[in-house]
Symmetry: C2
């Protein structure tokens, strides 16, 4: 069974977005270089430094399924059924939509009975590949439940002050992290991966 990895761009003070869900300057690194990365849907491409592009391709290349929250699904309209990474996604929600316009793509899977069930469903779909968790509520719940193997942080040299936190719902006593297994300096970001000690 593949790894379960939480991943997000995070400000130096621990936020993954402003209160209004705007990432602000946290995503500057997606346009900080000349290496074009083409995606499966909008945005059709972005431009990374060579260091970020290498990290990005290795990371994305291992993903078999995503787990996202209902808020992100609603904000993006489920990426119209085609996630930019080109992978299927499990949506953790209280109630599955019955009339979603893009259900026919078959890429969205709705789970209503909690984070453990959502991650388990994603692992079924992903097989030996990685299950990637959206930062915020989903990653927090999964960390709290001991379901996460690695915490990937794209550490951005900005201070947000307030907003949505990467580790919002995490009981600190329940999460022990190891030293980073990867530290990749780039422009407007340092990519870091922390193993979760179990």
């Amino acid at each position: 069974m593949g790894k379960v990895v939480a991943s997000a761009s995070m400000s130096l003070d621990g936020f993954v977005a402003h209160d209004n869900n705007d990432p602000g300057r946290l995503f500057d690194w997606y346009e900080a270089g000349d290496v074009e990365v083409v995606t499966a849907s909008e945005p059709a491409s972005f431009h990374l430094t060579p260091a970020s592009a290498g990290y990005w391709r290795e990371w994305v290349g291992q993903i078999g399924c995503l787990v996202v929250g209902r808020l992100l699904f609603d904000i993006t309209d489920g990426w119209s059924g085609e996630h930019p990474l080109g992978v299927p996604f499990v949506v953790l929600t209280h109630e599955a939509p019955t009339d979603w316009a893009h259900a026919r793509t078959g890429n969205a899977h709705f789970v209503t009975d909690g984070i453990e069930a959502a991650v388990a469903r994603a692992q079924e779909i992903a097989g030996d590949r990685t299950v990637a968790l959206a930062a915020g509520t989903i990653a927090g719940q999964a960390l709290a439940a001991g379901l996460v193997d690695e915490v990937a942080v794209d550490l951005v040299p900005v201070v947000l002050g307030t907003g949505h936190r990467y580790f919002a719902d995490v009981d600190p006593a329940a999460v022990r992290l190891g030293d980073p297994t990867a530290i990749i300096p780039s422009t407007r970001v340092t990519h870091m991966v922390f193993p979760v000690e179990k």
Copy 2:
């Protein structure tokens, strides 16, 4: 005139201590290796990895004066007049103590008219050497006032959840950080230095 640098051990979620001022596991890296570092006062020594020891000696070797808040001064009783780093310190306070038992050491300087005056006094004392700011209120006020040249973060792979934040009083719009000029992996810490863009 020397640089002004804020420096602290910080959890991955942005805290420099628990609410009760206990650093918890944030200071584990001070005993994570075999390289003994002897200090001018209690604790008489600690034990770093070679990587942390190299970073530490370069950092401490450049410090000419510290600026600390009254809370830290009170908690430590002003280090009995001898800071472990062996350098003088400016205490920003509303009122200087009149009966402090260790005043005779001459290492403590009390400033009552705000953060700019405190940093200016420390720069006088430090000459061409670095003025180091304690994290928390002091660093936050100095960052907000545009007085800081570098933000040093000893990034510790723990999640605290709550506590005192490194960037508590900082107006995000007022602080623009550059990419790290140093990233030094070690055990239970990654030492990082971010320049402040002016």
